[in-house]
């Protein structure tokens, strides 16, 4: 009985607190994405914007480890019984990926563009062996510093 109550408490805590924290995180991501839209990034290996002069280029990285909440994990476990899209993990990966890219952009103030961006995902398991439900996202690329060529109309 006590174990059941504990389970319900965790479930409710996960649902309310987890949902609140996630919406907070998403609004922060949207705000920062809007601010950093001036720093374009591409996964192409060529320059996105023609440069008049390149001062320097450097490797930049951004990473985040993020965990799913208790409620969503249970929902995902149930979902795996019948199959189909697991929405709770979709939002987890979405926010982790966007956060990693944002951190990469934030790590190079003054750069004019980031090229050759690669995103890598890995999952982390805890010592007990049961899936901890957390993922590590790493975004890396080459930041280009220098003078952007003046273009007409842009």
């Amino acid at each position: 009985m006590i174990a059941f109550l504990g389970f319900i408490t965790l479930l409710l805590l996960g649902f309310f607190v987890g949902r609140y924290l996630e919406s907070q995180h998403f609004s922060s991501i949207r705000q920062r994405e809007a601010e950093l839209v001036v720093l374009p990034n591409t996964n192409s290996r060529y320059l996105l914007i023609p440069m008049q002069q390149i001062e320097r280029s450097e490797l930049v990285t951004g990473s985040v480890v993020i965990s799913i909440d208790y409620f969503k994990r249970i929902v995902a476990d149930l979902r795996s019984l019948i199959g189909g899209p697991v929405q709770s993990y979709e939002t987890l990966l979405d926010r982790a990926r966007r956060e990693a890219i944002l951190r990469m952009k934030e790590s190079c103030p003054g750069a004019s563009q980031i090229i050759n961006v690669r995103v890598e995902t890995s999952s982390i398991y805890n010592a007990a062996g049961n899936g901890i439900g957390s993922v590590e996202l790493l975004a890396y690329g080459t930041a280009i510093y220098g003078q952007v060529q003046a273009t007409n109309g842009l």
Binding site: G18, I54, S57, D69, Y70, N126, E136, L138, Y140, T142
Partner: protein, 104 residues
């Protein structure tokens, strides 16, 4: 030392190539971080301890790769790739590799 993950170093010319250099590190998290992560698992959200840990390991792996390149007489590393794998429970391996070159 210039480090990029593109095949060329933008704005520079490669004059010499030394081949692949790599650096790796295996790290385990300590118990305190694990307990905090357990709590965080209920609410969801970022596990800062782990983010920090992986950043530290990545810096160390990069440092080892850079040392190797310096020994070869290179002054830049191009086409750098990262890879992470969990080798054992509670431990992660970070592996970084790239091509050591000399630029003008």
């Amino acid at each position: 030392m210039f480090i990029t993950n593109t095949e060329t170093l933008p704005g520079k010319t490669i004059i010499d190539c030394f081949g692949v250099v790599s650096g790796s590190t295996v790290r385990a998290k300590h118990v305190g971080r694990d307990i905090m992560a357990g709590l965080k698992n209920v609410f969801g959200g970022e596990l800062r301890g782990y983010t920090e840990l992986l950043n530290e390991s990545r810096d160390q792996a990069l440092q080892r790769m850079t040392d190797q390149a310096t020994q070869l007489g290179a002054n830049a590393i191009i086409n750098v790739r990262f890879s992470t794998s969990s080798v054992a429970a509670g431990a992660a391996e970070i592996y970084v590799y790239g091509t050591a070159v000399r630029v003008e």
